[in-house]
């Protein structure tokens, strides 16, 4: 009787472990599938010290971050694109600047920023949902500075 009970418990434990393994695999697969639906919003911002006019609604979410850490008085949105988080994306920004995605793995990716054909910067980022990364400090005409803002968007 006791032997039968022990066998039953072993059977239950094995079944549970198998179910857990299957669920783990399904979860991992779902996560990979989810990465196909992830998008990155890319904004190109021009910052200068001219008199600030109206607040850009399109920058409302990152204005606290900009104002907290940078000393510019005005931030203007130059371009805005939303692209899939996938390999080989090539996104033209403005003023000859281009941004490339490579080595995309889940939420991690390598970003290259080019101006014309010249590579300016390469960085490996691990993006978190709705947590922006600002890549900036590229001087521009009229004492302004250009900033690329990347923000991972998930459903």
């Amino acid at each position: 009787m006791a032997k039968h009970g022990a066998r039953s418990h072993v059977k239950t434990i094995l079944t549970t472990m198998l179910a857990a393994a299957l669920l783990w695999t399904a979860s991992a697969m779902a996560q990979d599938y989810g990465s196909a639906r992830r998008t990155v919003e890319i904004r190109f911002v021009r910052a200068d010290n001219k008199k600030a006019d109206e607040t850009e609604e399109a920058l409302a979410d990152i204005l606290p971050l900009l104002r907290q850490n940078l000393r510019f008085t005005r931030y203007r949105l130059i371009s805005r694109r939303t692209v899939a988080l996938s390999e080989g994306q090539r996104i033209p920004l403005a003023y000859g600047y281009t941004l490339n995605f490579s080595n995309v793995q889940s939420q991690a990716l390598t970003v290259h920023i080019f101006r014309q054909q010249q590579m300016l910067l390469r960085t490996r980022l691990r993006l978190k949902s709705r947590r922006p990364v600002l890549l900036g400090g590229f001087p521009h005409a009229g004492d302004s500075t250009l900033i690329a803002v990347l923000k991972l968007m998930e459903d």
Binding site: A20, R46, R131, L134, F138, P139, G142
Partner: protein, 128 residues
Amino acid sequence: MKQISNKELRELVQRAEPTPRIPRADAFWGRFKARAECMPRETNERPPAYPRLWPKLALGAATVITLLLMLVVLEFPQLPVDNASGEPLSRVDELDVYIDHTSVMIMKDRRSGGTLVWITGTEATTDG
């Protein structure tokens, strides 16, 4: 030896041991039931299965907790220790700058929930 007929034999037997009267069935069962009610009954019913249920419930709970932990680990590989709001910030793992510059700063603003990479002292400018 004297031989007796069947009829005589039957009469002799009846005389020696009269035919017993067969008791009535309902009286018998009445006595049986009355006696049975006084006796402790042995039942074949099993004791409730609650004690055997606990290991299974414990295993189920352990499985659910394990799965939840797995999901948390899969979804949030880094523990949220660097953010005031409890959620992790985007992270810069590597950075190479290919133009002349003075310095590079990587800042994590926990209050605003953003990460900032700032290159200073670059000389190249673009016209716009």
